[in-house]
């Protein structure tokens, strides 16, 4: 099945590929796609998710796309994953954890979040969740950077 799925997505037969995994649970599908990406590093897997997103944009599919990007070895994957995280937050703006997830990309390779944006975001998160670890560690990281920059 795995090989058939790969053949389908490489050939652009996304409907056929979708049929192959339709019986899977969301968790099963995620694990399957992650494993496949880790093994093959095929960009067509991401293309397949993008196809599904075009069909029906959901948080789950964005999460799938994000995780695949994180696992892959493609250039700029982190920046793309950040875009998916931002879109997830946009789709569910009340979940502060999703905002923190966006913030977690600060400082990673290809990240486009500036220090000011990160600081502001962290403060916003802490306003709602004073114990949020990502926000706290980001502020700490920023203070470290500031000290080093001054020195």
């Amino acid at each position: 099945m795995k090989q058939q799925f790969i053949d389908n997505i490489n050939a652009g037969k996304f409907f056929d590929a979708k049929k192959l995994i339709s019986a899977m649970s969301p968790e099963g599908m995620l694990t399957f796609l992650q494993g496949l990406t880790f093994e093959t590093n095929l960009i067509s897997i991401y293309t397949f998710i993008a196809f599904l997103l075009l069909e029906n944009e959901t948080i789950f599919l964005h999460q799938c796309a994000r995780s695949i990007l994180c696992i892959s070895m493609w250039e700029g994957a982190n920046a793309a994953a950040l875009l998916h995280s931002q879109r997830i937050y946009e789709l569910d703006p009340h979940d502060i954890a999703k905002k923190a997830s966006v913030l977690s990309y600060f400082g990673t390779p290809d990240c486009t979040i500036t220090r000011q944006e990160a600081q502001k975001m962290a403060q916003e998160i802490l306003a709602q969740d004073p114990q949020n670890k990502i926000a706290l560690s980001t502020l700490e990281f920023l203070s470290l950077k500031t000290v080093k920059d001054v020195n």
């Binding site: 995620l30 992650q34 880790f38 799938c64 990673t108 990240c111 990281f141």
Partner: protein, 584 residues
């Protein structure tokens, strides 16, 4: 000048012949009795004269004392007012069985035999020749007889003659080969049942090796090296000791010979330690402290094993400064292993530390040094030796190389050796640790406590078995894990996961072209996978989980004010590392 010397010589010869005329020629034929060793006629000349005395001139010499029975001799000496001391001093008469029977009853007999034996051993070749052919007070048969009598007193087999030259050294071994083997086997089985069989095996092997090579030339290099440390091998030969002492003596010869062949570069400390330890060991052996001599020999072999194993990779020079030399990292690690091995030897030698584990093993290929353990052990030895040396009066005598050895002095000398060696290698251990940390900042795991190492092939890890702590496959030993933040993965799992990272992913993590992963912020010089791998190991061991999303876990660790992130995916209960970088 020459004429003066000739004159003196002629006077001496004249004196001897005059003296010889006093001795009756009748004595000559009486020496060849059935159970008395044959003596050449010259032996009689002045036979009773040398040690004493006018009494010979007055009468004794005109009497055929070799014909006398024990009672007759007794009466004779009483009649002529001989004291027991005078009688015991009549060296040549010891060839007479009746005389021996008489003097054996004297209280000073044993001392007299010992004195005679010592005197004969102390004679030079010329002195023997002179006494045998001119003075007539010595014969080889008499020496043999005295040796036999001495051996009877000490319930021993006749001892081989003193080692006065390398040739006689061979002679000793030829005559005592079988004797030593039997004796050694008994010692090994009964008196010296050591904790490790390997020690015995090594010693017996050394014995075998010695006998198989007994026809080869003597160890000239050993003698040369010994001279550098003021070791007089001839004086320290165990002439009267048990067989074990002879075996140990030969071992020390081998140790000195091996040490003499160690390249001098960067090995001053070790050569010094071996020279000093051998000296003390030989003294202990000579004085009969074979247990301590055995321990010191073990120490020497331990150091030699290490020295030979790492070869040129050794760098324990007194003048060595790590920052000056561009040693490969593994060389520094080897040196650290060496310090551990020496520390292990010192622990066994001094008993100041109870246990000496410094190596940890995950499997047959992976070892870890626990640096703090080595330093702690060295510090403990240093403190204990300092305390000992400052609180014991014999220390002043210990410093004197000519002091005779009692057990107290011997222990003092061993402690001095340990103190001196510890003083030299403790700062080196710290320097090496700094060097490794600087070159490979995060190679050291668990706050610098554990350093992964490859054991040089030549090092006999088997002999260090007792000092190796084996890690359980699923968890770190408690004493190692004390300083660690609890982690979901064992060191072994992490090592396996890192080993499974494929080449493309390694390249992706390193980002050699773009430098996006910013390893150059934390690694000086070339960003090599080995260095990055060590960082990943450290993060996986010590880092905290900062993010978990869709089966992907991020662990982060603050190192030198830089945050390193490592991402791994957990699928089917196994985890795989997918990415890592230094946060910008």
């Amino acid at each position: 000048m020459k004429s003066q010397i000739l004159h003196v010589y002629l006077l001496l010869i004249t004196h001897c012949f005059v003296t010889a005329n006093i001795i009756p020629v009748d004595f000559r034929h009486h020496y060849n009795t059935q159970d008395t060793p044959a003596v050449s006629p010259n032996t009689f000349h002045n036979a009773l004269h040398e040690q004493s005395s006018l009494k010979h001139q007055q009468g004794a010499c005109h009497t055929d004392l070799f014909q006398y029975s024990c009672d007759q001799l007794k009466t004779y000496f009483a009649y002529h007012n001989y004291s027991q001391k005078d009688v015991l001093g009549l060296g040549i008469l010891y060839l007479s069985n009746e005389f021996v029977k008489l003097v054996k009853a004297y209280p000073g007999y044993e001392l007299a035999i010992a004195a005679l034996r010592k005197k004969m051993r102390g004679m030079s070749s010329f002195g023997k020749w002179w006494r045998e052919h001119i003075a007539g007070s010595y014969s080889p048969q008499l020496e043999t007889r005295i040796n036999k009598l001495y051996a009877e007193i000490h319930h021993q087999q006749p001892q081989p003659p003193a080692i006065t030259s390398q040739e006689s050294h061979h002679h000793v071994h030829e005559h005592t080969l079988a004797y030593l083997r039997d004796e050694w086997a008994q010692c090994a089985a009964i008196s010296y049942d050591r904790k490790t069989k390997k020690r015995l095996k090594k010693r017996i092997n050394a014995l075998d090796q010695h006998y198989t090579t007994s026809s080869s030339p003597p160890h000239k290099d050993a003698h040369i090296f010994a001279q550098q440390y003021h070791i007089n091998l001839h004086e320290l030969a165990p002439n009267n000791g048990p067989a074990i002492a002879h075996v140990l003596y030969q071992e020390y010869i081998d140790i000195l010979d091996t040490t003499a062949h160690i390249p001098a570069h960067d090995t001053e400390i070790l050569c010094d330690a071996l020279g000093q330890a051998s000296h003390i060991g030989l003294e202990a052996n000579k004085a009969g402290f074979v247990d301590q001599a055995s321990k010191l020999a073990d120490f020497c072999w331990t150091v030699l094993d290490y020295t030979k194993a790492v070869g040129e990779g050794i760098c324990l020079g007194a003048h060595n400064t790590l920052h000056m030399c561009a040693h490969p990292l593994q060389t520094a690690k080897n040196a650290l292993i060496g310090i551990g091995v020496i520390t292990y030897g010192l622990v066994n030698l001094t008993d100041f530390v109870q246990h000496a584990p410094f190596l940890y093993v995950v499997d047959n290929d992976q070892f870890f040094l626990r640096l703090n353990t080595i330093q702690d052990q060295l510090q403990t030895i240093a403190n204990a030796t300092t305390t000992y040396l400052t609180s014991n009066k014999p220390r002043d005598i210990v410093k004197d190389g000519t002091a005779f050895i009692t057990e107290g002095f011997l222990v003092g000398k061993i402690v001095s050796l340990a103190a001196n060696l510890t003083k030299q290698i403790l700062p080196l251990a710290m320097q090496y640790a700094e060097y490794i940390a600087a070159e490979e900042p995060l190679t050291c795991l668990a706050d610098g406590e554990l350093i992964p190492v490859k054991i040089p092939k030549g090092i006999d890890v088997g002999s260090l078995e007792n000092s190796i702590l084996k890690m359980e496959s699923n968890q770190l030993p408690t004493q190692i894990g004390n300083g660690l933040i609890p982690t979901a993965h064992s060191l072994e799992e992490i090592s396996v996961a890192i080993a499974k990272i494929e080449t493309n992913r390694i390249n992706h993590i390193l980002t050699p072209k773009t430098g996006k992963h910013a390893w150059n912020k934390i690694i000086t010089g070339e960003v090599a996978w080995e260095k990055v791998k060590s960082l990943i190991e450290k993060v996986m061991l010590e880092g905290i989980i900062t993010k978990v999303e869709e089966n992907i876990v991020t662990k982060s660790l603050d190192i030198f004010d830089k945050v390193i992130d490592v991402k791994y995916i957990v699928l089917n209960d196994t985890f795989s590392i997918v990415n890592a970088w230094v946060r910008k």
